[in-house]
Symmetry: D2
Subunit: 362 residues, 4 copies
């Protein structure tokens, strides 16, 4: 019987996931003649034994496709699994025994787990109980400290930048203050990159709580110079100094409705200062997560995918692939967990922003 | 002294405005050796005598640029002009006398007024008092009955469709209900075209007030077939049957905050029915109005611009250029005013939608 | 037994083909509960009896996909069919009897034939011998007289225009004469639209044989004004006055090699006049035919597809759908054959070009 | 008098040049209150004393613009300068004395020279004779060993990949072998990245001379599996084993015409093996060099630009900015000269290609 490996994708969407699946499948088949088992909907499919064989045919044409052909699950944590009770309620249980048993039955050389911090913590829990897993890092926010770049991030930046470009011309011609809310709950990498690339006048990120008066003053300074428009890029996790971020109240719908998103909230406050201007809001949302990945992310996903298969072939179980400079390397999964890579408020990017005249709100 | 024409752009932003300005300028100079005067910020610049000469050099490179190099003004109506008083308050006055006098001083063969319904009504008012004006139609919403297509509309549709494309893959991989709010306060052309082109499952437009239960039922039907995601394209002017649209309460900030936008409001209601799904919202906003126009809109703007100069040369004062089929023609400005071209709830597009399985909400 | 219709796609690639297939399938199933049979590789599949059932599932996700899921065949003419002989040679035979018999066996309400002039002539031949066929027009070159617009054309124009945009900045910064060869063997619609939308300085189309000296002189006039770059958009069928087009020698490889493509040939001649400049060539080729269609073309393909099913339902056999203004209508297939819609050298587009300073070469 | 710095851009076009100019200008003005002098057309402007002041206003809106607002010159080498003689002939002279004198007259803190290997060798020559210069690396081919990434490269890769995507669908639907020629005279980075990201079946680069029979055999293997199309990405410097590259004969027009470009030449040979298929060629050319840069390249150009000003402020004359991993650093200009960074035929990228089934021709 041919050896086999498995692959699952966990967590939120990220352009480049299918490139990883394709590369893992192709490399495993072409170089090692392994069978490849795709596990559906992340750890949920492992619990429910929903698998599909992956072949050269089934991964054809995947590079351009957003999403993941395997599906994902945000909530299927083997250690805290939401079970639907007959009465409709949900109960959280530890189903890691079942998951480990199902995994053992598959007789995999290793499972390639593609996911973010949450997925890697689950993977680490299973690793500690004997599972054979290698990791591929995934975060649209690029906030994983183990690697220089994660796939999907650059796609999100390009999409957000194109939106900022479009907002620019209309803001300029029509004297508008336009806010563009981009992703980034805890880390401001997307806002920072898209804001700098798009020539934003103000960039607000979670790492630098903002003072409203600084933003107002930046806009007024521009008006004093005869520049009657301003573009503000706001990470969804941006928050006023001393306040809380809109994403902090997640789940509390009543407060969320009252608070609104980061951009909506700021827009209301700005509308009080600049009544003569039109203040407008664009909320990009999941547009940043979907669709065709950039070439950069397809290539990075492909390199991660082949790298993960190499880890399996070299017996490096428990490792996660990572990019350092131009080199694919690996680190232990446990070292990749729980440490967000944040924008340094005094680091190079923040300096570049300030040195080119961008107001960071503090 | 050379003959001269003037040009101004009024109303909201619309990709293709600069193509019109460029074509008017080039055709006037190349074919007739006229001087061209650009009037800044719409009728405001005419009142304030702010002009700039337009030359071949000043319109170079304009085809790719969004916005309008002349600026615009939404509120500068010569007949109801907002005057700032010394005490900071605003007063609305009829300044049409001054505007007509300034126009007369310019000694133009004609003024080319590029704008939407509002601008054309002002133009008509001035025409009736002796001004020499020809019109170029402009509405991002494509809701002008005098012409088959307005420039800018197709750009908005392409941008909205690309967003829907991106939302599709992420919705599919992650079992989401995603709402995408697009422009269209009174007419649903953008929503209809982008929804059909993007393969939306539900399209909600102002012309067809929706029943929530039909939307819920469409989503449930899909789930029954194993399709666990849905894409809903919502025009900003969409409204529930018997309710009012979010744009109807414009200006009343308190109610607006409570009501939210069309997509936000619907998302809250859907979240009550489909708690197990993530319901997500994208609000494209001014992204649809800005940036590089499509080739289609650049060409249409160019044809309108040369057509407008031809109207002047032929002495067809009071006419507005229009597209009928593949032909540039013209109609009286007064016939182009005040009649919105709406999506017919029983017309071809609505039938195409229903026949390809799209739920229109009623 | 349910009624059934068939569909095949013939001729060259054209973005929007899959939108037609999807719309035909959806409308037939949703509105009439008909079965839908996809015939593979155009008339070749009809001769070889290669069919596939088309269902809602098999047309999912098709709007964004270029190409045709049914495949096509350029050479499979039922009346002059290339048969491979056992000795490897090819013989051309009339296999229309077999094709008609196979068609009869399928017991279709009608066959929807999607294709260009060639496909429609074959369809007409079969119609005259009793086949039940309705047509959907397809030509990337937009040169069909029966309809205002064909799908795919606008996508090609957008792609070509984006290329011209990119060439513009590099030509300008680096004092280059850049030629961009676009599609258009007999009709210059793509060159004309992309050239006008992209701001080309010279546009050469098959309908207007060019004089080299006029092109040289236009470039020199620009230099005299201090403009040291020029962009030339060349249709592949463009030819010098009194000469022949590069596409005319198709099949004669030796002469083709010697002659080169339209842009290569002109580039060599310009290099002799402007040695101090760099003359560069881009040949877009099939890039214009492939990939995701624009929203415009997806919508048009969808409207054509539903319109074709309506023709079948209404018993309008022998008709081809067409767009007139904003209206989907139909004309007899035989009236749609053999008449190319060419750019009128004195028509509106050519005037718009000349009036905005574009050199047309004659 | 305020201190001042100068900036010039040399060599071929590269998206991101304007981002560098903008960042240098903004940082110099905002952080140090320096004046900024733009030197036109590279070293030619320094010789001819053509300068323009750069202000915040003159660099507004530059991020989205391709090309360089300062112009460039490929041939203006101060040490081998082409002088036009009165009789029309050209003579090459050493004008470095004049250039150094002009530079001294400008009394710059330093000159920021943005360019590739050629520009840096000129800069080094001037440095050795006392000029104060800092460098910013520029090469569309990403083949500079001193830095991990150069701006412009990623834009070229994205453009080439989009072309490959489009070719894919048409090749697949219509059974074509399509060759796409991309940039890369000596280094195959663009071909490699675009080929991998676009899912090419064959990638040919200068570093790996190809054997025609391997390409033929790869296409035949695909046909044996029922895959009737193939996509071949060819770097312009690709060459057969034992042969010479098409770019090697540059300047020898007769031989160049006979040889043709890399893709044309290979297409002719493939047409002999696969007569039943259509073999088609796309030559992207300067499309890859022009137009709006990606966000990645705008950000990199901005970081390089601010980094270069920091070098000046820190007195690090003779250094060139460089990217290592995620960090902006610098190296001596002389170390950055004359060493091309080539694709390693046995390195990671080549392995990734082979492991995912790509034929590299040897």
């Amino acid at each position: 019987m041919a050896k086999r490996i498995g692959i699952l994708t966990g967590g939120g969407d990220c352009p480049g996931l299918n490139a990883v699946i394709r590369a893992v499948t192709k490399h495993a088949i072409i170089s090692y003649n392994w069978d490849v088992i795709g596990i559906e909907d992340g750890f949920q499919g492992l619990y429910e034994k929903r698998y599909q064989p992956l072949t050269s045919g089934s991964v054809r044409g995947l590079l351009v496709r957003g999403g993941t052909i395997l599906g994902s699950s945000n909530r299927a944590n083997p250690f805290r699994y939401p079970i639907k009770l007959p009465d409709g309620r949900e109960e959280v249980r530890d189903v890691s025994e079942e998951v480990l048993r199902n995994l053992a039955e598959l007789e995999l050389e290793a499972l390639v787990a593609v996911g973010g911090d949450g997925t890697m913590q689950m993977a680490q829990g299973l690793l500690e109980r004997g599972a054979r897993i290698v990791g591929v890092p995934k975060t649209i926010d690029n906030d994983l400290s183990a690697t220089d770049f994660t796939f999907g991030y650059q796609t999100a930046v390009e999409i957000a930048t194109e939106a900022v470009d479009r907002l620019h011309t209309t803001a300029e011609s029509h004297d508008r203050i336009i806010l563009c809310e981009v992703m980034g709950r805890y880390a401001g990498w997307i806002a920072m990159a898209a804001g700098l690339a798009g020539g934003a006048d103000v960039i607000l990120i979670p790492e630098i709580p903002y003072r409203l008066e600084r933003i107002v003053s930046a806009i007024e300074d521009r008006k004093a110079k005869g520049i009657t428009f301003s573009i503000i890029v706001v990470a969804e996790g941006a928050k006023p100094l001393g306040g809380e971020s809109a994403v902090a109240v997640q789940g509390d719908l009543t407060r969320q409705e009252k608070l609104g998103g980061a951009a909506d909230r700021l827009a209301r406050e700005l509308a009080r200062h600049f009544s003569e201007h039109d203040v407008r809001v664009t909320v990009l949302g999941h547009v940043q997560r979907g669709g065709t990945p950039t070439a950069f992310d397809r290539l990075l996903g492909t390199r991660y995918g082949t790298g993960a298969v190499d880890l399996v072939a070299e017996g490096k179980i428990g490792q996660i692939v990572a990019l350092r400079g131009n080199t694919i390397t690996s680190v232990p999964i446990k070292d990749a967990c729980g440490q967000l890579k944040l924008v340094d408020p005094r680091g190079e990017l923040a300096r570049v922003a300030r040195h080119t005249g961008v107001e960071l709100g503090a």
